[in-house]
């Protein structure tokens, strides 16, 4: 417990960032909440419509549901690539004795490249006419039958726009998990090994429980980033073809800035906020229950 005087000074120092946070984050969220009860196109008079926007969203808008499920698919692919990939690479790294720094840097590289460059890069990779890298490789290894315009095929486009986002941040989460793995006490591992533990047991009984707090943080980070994913799908396909790669975020953006339906776009954004909070709550709940069990 801090003495009174220093508690006051802590409060004094905490207040400015708190106010800034309130003005930059909480106020816009509140503003969206208010706007979601109105019909407003930016230049007309604002008209109070009560819950009509919410009713429309949940019952009368096929694109909303389509983009909601697309967003879940996008999230799943991103999480598998980012967390699964990161954990795998980080674990392998710890068993490497040379060249760790080089591999770390190479994996981290995509995270520092600008989004627009990544989007253009992958548009070229997926292209069929002129033949892009992916289709070319498929041809070389005798899988020419799988060749397709990945971004124009409604069955592959969602995965095609999710992969760049997943690939991009794998290195970042790898770095975080690698740092956590390094902190696992060596003597514990050694003792387990002497007791005859296999590599898998070592991982599940010693390493993973030890990095669980970091794992929770990275899961929350990756999930909220995934739910807010916008730029790569927007740049690569603009949600198309049709609504095959439309996410809630791109749909909200278009509703606000193309359809100028600011009221309804606010309704969607409120949903996104609630969805993110629910996702974080769910993760905490599940991981905590597992830890207690």
């Amino acid at each position: 417990m801090l003495p009174n005087r220093s508690r006051l000074s802590v409060l004094v120092f905490l207040l400015p960032p708190l106010l800034l946070y309130g003005a930059a984050v909480l106020f816009p969220i509140l503003q969206s909440l208010v706007l979601s009860f109105f019909s407003w196109n930016g230049i007309s008079d604002m008209e109070f419509v009560g819950l009509a926007n919410y009713v429309r969203m949940f019952t009368g808008d096929d694109i909303f549901w389509r983009s909601f499920f697309n967003a879940l698919g996008y999230l799943a692919i991103c999480l598998v690539l980012q967390l699964g990939g990161a954990l795998l690479v980080a674990s392998l790294l710890t068993s490497l004795s040379r060249g760790r720094e080089l591999i770390k840097t190479l994996y981290l590289l995509p995270a520092v490249i600008s989004t627009v460059a990544i989007a253009f890069l992958f548009v070229r990779i997926y292209s069929i006419d002129p033949v892009g890298l992916l289709n070319q490789v498929l041809q070389w290894i005798g899988l020419g039958a799988l060749e397709r315009p990945w971004l124009s095929d409604i069955n592959t486009v969602l995965a095609a726009v999710s992969v760049p986002e997943g690939w991009r941040f794998t290195g970042l989460y790898m770095l975080i998990l690698y740092a956590a793995l390094l902190s696992v006490p060596l003597e514990l591992e050694e003792a387990a090994r002497l007791d005859g533990a296999s590599r898998w047991q070592l991982f599940t009984k010693i390493r993973f429980p030890h990095i669980r707090p970091v794992w929770i943080t990275t899961t929350i980070m990756a999930t909220t980033y995934g739910l807010r994913g916008f730029d790569i799908p927007y740049l690569m396909t603009n949600g198309g073809p049709g609504q095959s790669s439309e996410l809630l975020t791109t749909y909200m953006y278009k509703t606000a800035f193309t359809s100028t339906d600011f009221g309804y776009a606010s309704t969607i954004s409120v949903f996104i906020v609630v969805e993110c909070l629910a996702a974080v709550g769910l993760i905490l709940f599940m991981l905590k229950r597992k830890a207690d069990a």
Binding site: Q31, G242, T255
Partner: protein, 443 residues
């Protein structure tokens, strides 16, 4: 807590309401404001190529004007990418922060701005400056709203043709289509010969949207889209169905290059200019790259164009097709003063001759376009088409429909052409979209 929330909510609504109202007390039809000319910086928010003729000429004219009016300058803020520009414009309009001059098509959104008196009456303005009669009637008509009012000034005049490669057509044993209905069979023949029939920029979506406008324009005339956008005509009507079926047929005949929906403007143009694609639908703004010695020598002598084919029983003539005068410039009522008025007078009188000297078609008829020295014979042939235009013109649908319906149409068209949805699904989705969204914009 509830009280705090309520206060915040009231504050939010007040702030937004304040942003939405305010300003704009001037009168849109007062085109010759009196008073002293006080030079200052004025801005033009525009969506034109950064190094294009319009911007270069207006910069030069602004510099000339500033010589006699020290302190004057014209700040050109361009966003050539149209969807981004529209978002910028709409956001600024919502914040009531539009500059002195801004570009817009005659969209439903622009019409709402005009109704609120935010745009100066351009017809009165041009008449007041004594230049109204110089303009091509069709260049002005393109800028007009449905009620005939004119609030935007054109700076261009373009004709849209279907460019084709004679050698590739010959190789496939096909000739220039006599009717729109010949196109699907033509594509099939070209595909059989291993040629991409049509190169299209699918990424920007408007090029594909041109095609859906063609059949109704021939079948029912320019009124069809005017009615369709208000829900008075439907895709399920005969003219609409003809268009839907035709689009599906184009898709089935694989008229467009594989994976067209993710290919951009330059991808499409490269396919045509490199001799891979047989046809390419684009306007006279591309004359410098399609009808001069800049064009790849291998295809230069094989390049020609035809205008939009008619159909059997067509109500519009062969010399009536898409002839847009480009995005127009609106004058903001709120900031319209003796300076803006005087500058426009100076610039609009001098603009046409400067513009025609660059080899482009002026929106006025009082000047002759100079054919560049490096032009192929096709250049002159294209320019001459402007003297032989009929009275009607096919309007691009993306300037006509409300933004939500327009977005949905662009998405559904790709699915229809790719064969992902049936014509019936397309028809019902689009008729529902119009019914749901049009009333908000066309009250």
């Amino acid at each position: 807590m509830i009280k705090l929330f309520r206060t915040a909510a009231v504050a939010a609504v007040t702030a937004l309401a304040l942003a939405a109202c305010g300003g704009g007390a001037s009168n849109p039809s007062n085109v010759s404001p009196t008073g002293e000319i006080k030079p200052r910086e004025i801005s033009w928010l525009l969506s034109r190529p950064a190094d294009g003729a319009v911007i270069n000429i207006m910069k030069k004219l602004a510099d000339d004007y500033a010589k006699d009016h020290p302190g004057f300058s014209l700040n050109l803020i361009t966003t050539p990418d149209r969807p981004s520009y529209i978002q910028k414009l709409e956001t600024l309009a919502a914040a009531n922060k539009l500059p002195e001059l801004f570009d817009t098509d005659a969209t439903p959104f622009a019409q709402q701005l005009a109704k609120q008196g935010k745009m100066v009456d351009a017809e009165k303005l041009l008449k007041d400056l004594g230049v109204y009669d110089n303009y091509r009637p069709s260049a002005l008509d393109y800028q007009r709203f449905d009620d005939g009012s004119l609030n935007m000034i054109p700076f261009q005049f373009e004709l849209e043709f279907i460019w084709y490669n004679k050698a590739l057509l010959q190789k496939a044993g096909v000739s220039v289509p006599k009717s729109l209905d010949d196109l699907p069979a033509m594509c099939t023949a070209l595909r059989k010969a291993g040629i991409t029939p049509i190169a299209i920029d699918g990424q920007d979506q408007w090029p594909l949207e041109r095609y859906v406008a063609y059949q109704p324009f021939r079948e029912a005339g320019p009124d069809f889209i005017q009615k369709l956008k208000k829900g008075e005509a439907k895709f399920s009507d005969p003219a609409g169905q003809k268009s839907v079926q035709w689009m599906e047929a184009l898709g089935k005949a694989k008229c467009f290059q594989d994976g067209f929906s993710s290919q951009g403007y330059s991808d499409a143009q490269n396919q045509f200019t490199s001799g891979q694609a047989a046809m390419y639908n684009i306007g006279t703004w591309e004359l410098p790259s399609l009808a001069t010695d800049k064009l790849n020598p291998a295809v230069r002598d094989n390049t020609d164009f035809f205008t939009l084919p008619t159909t059997q029983g067509s109500v519009t003539a062969a010399n009536e097709y898409v002839s847009p005068s480009g995005i127009g410039m609106a004058v903001n009522t709120k900031t319209y003063d003796p300076l803006v008025s005087d500058f426009l007078k100076f610039a609009l009188v001098k603009y046409p001759s400067e513009y025609a000297a660059t080899g482009a078609l002026s929106p006025t008829t009082n000047v002759e376009t100079a054919v560049p020295a490096n032009a192929t014979p096709l250049y002159k042939k294209a320019l001459e088409k402007a003297n032989d235009l009929g009275n009607e013109q096919a309007m691009p649908w993306d300037t006509q429909l409300d933004p939500t319906t327009n977005g949905r149409l662009q998405q559904e068209l790709v699915l229809l052409v790719q064969g992902n949805i049936t014509p019936e699904q397309f028809t019902s989705t689009m008729d529902n979209a119009v019914a749901q969204n049009a009333p908000k914009f066309f009250k």
